[in-house]
């Protein structure tokens, strides 16, 4: 093992160091200086992002070409960059960079959306921000993980941190969310682990790209491997929240503090999709596309249907966003359907589209959760639909951003969400899965109904008086510059990404 | 060194027994598969040895404990249980009955046979009874406990109540199997020796919790929970000390650890002096020894860590509801655990069964490591000693172990009890950081050692190590003496010390 390659994991190290600094800083500073903690956490995320970009740039300049999208697509020419580093435990490829970038973004935005919660002391402690950073570090490692060992351990770093984060507000609902998340999460990890044990037992290999390389063992213990892969898929679908295994999502998202919900809906989902992507593109690949892709397609269709139709009935916006998250998982799954006769370039394109979706989804969802997390003057959070009434009068900018996020989530043209959906539908059609893509478009149209209900509540619905005889009070919110930065930044990015969808791709070239 | 699996199934410890029994049964009953009988018996023999050991250990330790307690409290202690008036009583009575006019012939015959035995008991009285007065009290105790009524509370969880003492005893019992009593007398030398002992003794906490809960008594429950918390916490410093021992010896086998403390030179000649023992091998080990010893004390639930059975608060803790033999099980387990932890301390820190006198070791060594063993024709990896050497090693091991056990007893009758929070503070805030830094220190020492040895020569290094260790030893000794003898005392401390001295003077003047 070449230890100098450890520098490729420097971004993770930066985030970990920031986590430790935040935890220890809380012990030494006075209670009134606690506003510094989110700033340190934010700095950790930004520095991590900087380090990530620096890594990418130095790789590109050294090898005169950008790293491949995934390690299977690596050119074997002499002198070319081999993304498999550190004994094959990690793969430093563009997919990993992208997942790590989304994780850092999600971490930074969730820190921003939590930073105004001074009234809730559990949410302003050093451990809270430390755990966010640790979760982000886990997600980044998961993005780069290339064998089952590192994959499992990174997944657990992320999961354990988020279990506790989900319960960090000290009330009944938060506790319930944490417990449900813990029990079901542990259950799904057990599936994952069992699958890995089966596969390792059958093949004796751990590397994601090597386990299914045809061999005698693969034939002789095919049943064991199939069982293992099935368990593995169940575990991963659990983590991403796809349809037969989605039951935990609404309760957990509703109960968890809103900043954490944002992190779970975006960062955790991106990291789980990193596992799914590596399984789909490197482990199975086109060679086994016939065997498993129908399963993915079925899960995708089921997920889209369940998510969208259950979201229609929700009165609680946080819960509605949770179901919308399930629906978006379905759309994302479409992006991972591999055609049996795909080549490396096509796979890279598909992966690129999926990553674009993850990025766009992260921005608009975190923005929406940022708005939902705001506290009204009367102490209520903007969680129920009727709480949004009158927001356009009191905070026109805020209402505009929220409307943008809703339009984008629904997939309307000038916003990032439109291109994201367009790209994954396109890659599904290219791969030969037309029916799932058509169903995706149809459910996407149906989803307009519930997204636009929020917009109607903000712009059309009359403000109801809280007490009879009193003048109707609008939704006046307390919010600080961190929330402003989060909401307006995410709004701007949503529109920019919609206007220049090739922007991120352009940056990579 | 033998892997657990091998030992379990092949009876490695007593292969010769298998052979002997195979021959025996092979001649006698041909229709019985002799191997199966031999296998079972061979598997049972170590168990029986361990069972005998645990009784001897517990019995001997209780006697020593009573004597130490009596000595410290200026009492006489057990002195009535002499061979003649304990075992001899039944014979004396038989003789007396035979003298009666209506004695039956059988009684007369018995008296005739018993008459010479009375003389034997008289002789025993004059020897054993004089050197160790009241030694047989442990037999008397045992008989008493067996005869006592075995009470099970009506509201207790009966199966668990009955199972708990067995689990506690079994865990101590299992640990005895892996101790290195001597170079050739041992039950098993596992490849994971130290780790095996740590694992098997960790089961004790379950048994204690079980006892506390099944008794359905609030004092028992509190005691059980306190005990389990204590054992789980103090397992960490103990584990750190074990780990350091493994790092410094490069093996987990108990025999291997002992041999590693002989300091063999290239030609297979043992250094084998006291200062080759691990405790003097680096200053860190010297610091770690008291850390381990304190933690071991706490793991055995001994004073000053006997919070689980604090009689002023909890009646008797987790064994409040137990009587008779079940109570004796807890008692035996406690004494066995004391001996086990002290034996581990001896193995890791104090040279195991090494006598610490190099000329003797070199004299007793028949095959040196690196030479060809004439018995097997293979190159010996460990030294092989003559029978006298082995016996001396056995004595050395037992003496060292019981010296540490004696200190445990000394502490018990000298120091008051900790509070729960003090006990936890000592573990988590003092012992664990200290143990952890010692582990890091020893690892660093092991890293640096070869370079220093290369530069300045191995002899200089050994001398320097021994010098540093002795200096640390001396300094701490001076520190302790200063603390207790010459430190300027505050008025309060002066008063309490005066009281203590006066009390002792009064006690000395008292006649018992």
């Amino acid at each position: 093992m070449n230890w100098s390659e450890l520098s490729e994991l420097l971004p993770v190290g930066v985030v970990l160091a920031a986590a430790l600094v935040v935890v220890f800083l809380d012990l030494v500073i006075a209670h009134k200086d606690r506003y510094a903690l989110p700033m340190v956490a934010l700095a950790g995320c930004v520095l991590g992002l900087g380090s990530l970009i620096q890594n990418y740039l130095s790789l590109t300049t050294y090898y005169k070409q950008s790293p491949p999208w995934f390690s299977g697509a690596a050119e074997t020419a002499a002198g070319a960059f081999n993304p498999l580093i550190l004994g094959g435990h990690f793969s430093i490829d563009l997919f990993g960079f992208a997942i790590a970038g989304v994780a850092l973004l999600a971490g930074a935005l969730s820190v921003l959306s939590s930073a105004h919660e001074e009234d809730d002391s559990a949410l302003s402690s050093g451990e809270y921000y430390g755990l966010i950073l640790l979760a982000v570090a886990g997600m980044m490692l998961l993005g780069f993980a290339h064998d089952f060992l590192t994959l499992l351990v990174s997944l657990e770093i992320m999961s354990i941190s988020t279990y506790i984060l989900a319960g960090s507000r000290r009330d009944l609902k938060s506790g319930e969310a944490a417990l449900k998340y813990l029990v079901l999460g542990a259950f799904s990890t057990a599936f994952l682990m069992m699958g890995i044990a089966f596969i390792y037992g059958a093949t004796g290999k751990l590397s994601l790209s090597e386990v299914l390389i045809p061999s005698e063992q693969l034939v002789s213990s095919a049943f064991l491997i199939r069982g293992g892969l099935a368990l593995l898929l169940v575990g991963v679908l659990f983590k991403v929240g796809a349809a037969p295994f989605h039951f935990w999502i609404p309760d957990v998202y509703e109960g968890a503090p809103t900043g954490v919900t944002g992190l779970m809906a975006t960062g955790v989902k991106a990291a789980a999709f990193a596992v799914l992507g590596r399984l789909a593109f490197e482990t199975f690949g086109p060679r086994y596309a016939h065997d498993w892709a129908w399963l993915f397609a079925a899960a995708a269709v089921l997920t889209m249907a369940v998510g969208n139709f259950l979201a229609l009935r929700q009165e609680n916006v946080k819960r509605m966003l949770a179901y919308s998250g399930i629906a978006h998982t379905g759309y994302l799954l479409l992006g991972f359907l591999v055609s049996p006769n795909a080549d490396g370039i096509m796979l890279a394109d598909q992966l690129q589209n999926a990553v674009f979706y993850l990025l766009a989804y992260a921005l608009m969802t975190l923005g929406a959760f940022g708005v939902v997390g705001l506290v009204r003057e009367d102490g209520r959070r903007l969680e129920r639909l009727e709480d949004f009434a009158g927001l356009s009068k009191e905070h026109p900018g805020l209402a505009l951003c929220m409307a943008m996020f809703m339009f984008s989530l629904a997939g309307l043209p000038p916003f990032a969400g439109f291109f994201a959906k367009f790209l994954v539908f396109k890659s599904a059609v290219d791969a030969g899965y037309v029916l799932p893509a058509v169903l995706g478009v149809l459910t996407s149209v149906a989803s307009m109904a519930y997204y636009l209900r929020v917009v109607r509540a903000m712009y059309v619905d009359p403000v109801r008086a809280t007490k009879p005889g009193e003048a109707p009070a609008g939704a006046r919110c307390r919010y600080s510059w961190t929330t402003n930065l989060l909401i307006y930044g995410a709004g701007l990015a949503t529109i920019l990404l919609g206007l220049f969808p090739s922007g991120p791709t352009f940056l990579l070239r | 060194m033998v892997p657990l699996y091998e030992w379990l199934l092949q009876g490695e410890a007593s292969r010769w027994v298998v052979d002997a029994i195979v021959k025996l049964f092979g001649m006698a009953w041909i229709h019985i598969q002799p191997e199966s009988v031999a296998m079972v018996i061979a598997a049972l023999i170590p168990v029986l040895i361990a069972f005998g050991l645990i009784q001897a250990v517990a019995g001997g330790s209780t006697y020593i404990e009573r004597k130490v307690a009596a000595d410290i409290q200026r009492r006489v202690g057990p002195n009535q249980c002499q061979p003649s008036n304990f075992l001899g009583a039944v014979f004396s009575e038989a003789i007396e009955r035979a003298g009666r006019p209506n004695a039956r012939p059988g009684e007369k015959l018995f008296a005739k046979l018993a008459a010479p035995l009375v003389g034997v008991f008289k002789l025993l009285d004059a020897t054993l009874g004089r050197w160790l007065p009241g030694l047989l009290i442990f037999l008397a105790d045992g008989i008493k406990l067996i005869m006592k009524e075995d009470l099970v509370p009506a509201a207790a969880d009966k199966p668990m109540f009955k199972l708990a003492p067995t689990i506690v005893l079994a865990s101590a019992f299992g640990a005895l199997a892996a101790l290195p009593y001597s170079d050739r007398f041992y039950i098993a030398d596992f490849n994971i020796g130290v780790f095996y002992i740590a694992a098997i003794t960790s089961i004790e906490a379950i048994g204690i919790l079980m006892a506390g809960w099944a008794s359905n008594n609030k004092w028992a429950l509190l005691g059980g929970m306190r005990s389990a918390a204590q054992i789980v916490s103090y397992e960490i410093p103990v584990g750190l000390a074990l780990l350091t021992g493994i790092v410094i010896s490069g093996t987990m086998s108990m025999q291997g650890m002992t041999v590693a403390q002989f300091g063999f030179d290239g030609a297979g000649w043992s250094e084998g002096w006291v200062w080759n023992w691990n405790v003097f091998s680096s200053p860190f080990m010297f610091v770690l020894f008291p850390v381990y010893y304190l933690a071991a004390l706490a793991e055995c639930n001994r004073t000053p860590f006997d919070i689980p059975e604090a009689e002023s608060e909890l009646v008797a803790g987790y064994h409040t509801e137990y009587s008779g033999m079940r109570f004796a099980f807890f008692f035996m387990a406690e004494y066995a655990m004391m001996c086990v932890t002290c034996a581990i301390a001896v193995t890791i820190f104090l040279g195991g069964w090494s006598t610490g006198f190099a000329p003797f070791e070199n004299w007793a060594m028949q095959v040196r490591p690196g030479e060809i063993n004439p018995a097997t024709g293979l190159v010996a990896t460990a030294p092989i000693f003559s029978i006298w050497g082995s016996l001396m090693h056995l004595a050395a091991f037992l003496i060292k172990t019981y010296a540490l056990v004696f200190v445990m007893m000394w502490i018990r009758w000298t120091l008051p009890r900790f509070r729960v929070d003090q006990m936890m503070t000592l573990c988590w805030k003092k012992l664990i950081p200290l143990g952890m830094s010692c582990l890091v220190g020893v690892s660093g020492w092991m890293l640096v050692r070869p370079y220093v040895a290369e530069k300045y020569g191995a002899d200089a290094l050994n001398n320097a190590t021994a010098g540093i260790s002795c200096a640390v030893c001396l300094l701490s000794g001076i520190g302790i003496i200063w603390w207790f003898g010459f430190k300027k005392l505050s008025p309060d401390e002066q008063k309490s010390r005066k009281l203590l001295v006066e009390g002792n003077v009064i006690a000395q003047g008292t006649k018992f």
Binding site: L224 | L9, I203
Partner: protein, 184 residues
């Protein structure tokens, strides 16, 4: 002959251990008293440690005992005893026919799958066993498992090993976050 006896005794002992494990695990599920279930779980862990010994993984067996029996089960019992209603610590499972039937169905399917699996794998497993046994016989005295394990853990797999320490760090920070009382 003795060799054959050894393997017979080994088989006998193995089945005793397996039976103990499975019985205890079943008891964990059906026990009405939650503490009895915890104790049964300890026995099941003990049995698993025994199975590890049969797999020549002594070190793992010891770790299993120290971590699961000596640590986790004790903490589980602590949690049960410290929480309220210890005396009424029994659970009344709802035993509807649907649940029983569903459970039986799932168990049956898993059993059938496992039997199929074993039938499929018989040949490779036997070969693998023979191979492992032979390798073990030749190296048993020279390089016991735990030494090789140490080399692998601190060599080839050092990085995942260290990543696992980050996992423990996360758990530690999380534990502090849960128990920490806010002082205002």
């Amino acid at each position: 002959m003795v060799r054959a006896m050894h393997s017979m005794l080994a088989t006998l002992l193995f089945w005793i251990v397996v039976l103990m494990t499975v019985t205890a695990a079943t008891f964990v599920v059906v026990a009405r008293n939650i503490l009895h279930a915890a104790f049964a779980l300890a026995v099941a862990f003990l049995g698993v440690a025994g199975i590890y010994i049969f797999l020549h993984a002594d070190f793992l067996a010891a770790v299993q005992l120290i971590v699961y029996v000596g640590g986790i089960i004790v903490l589980v019992m602590f949690a049960i005893m410290f929480s309220a209603h210890t005396q009424e610590g029994t659970v009344e499972p709802r035993r509807t026919w649907l649940a029983l039937g569903g459970g039986a169905l799932v168990a049956g399917v898993v059993l059938a799958a496992t039997i199929m699996l074993i039938n499929r794998l018989q040949v490779p497993l036997a070969e693998a066993n023979a191979h492992a046994d032979a390798a073990y016989r030749t190296t048993a005295s020279a390089a016991p498992g735990e030494i090789a394990l140490g080399h692998v853990l601190l060599g080839e797999y050092l990085l995942p090993f260290e990543v696992a320490s980050i996992l423990i760090l996360a758990a530690l920070v999380g534990a502090v976050a849960i128990v920490r009382k806010e002082t205002r």
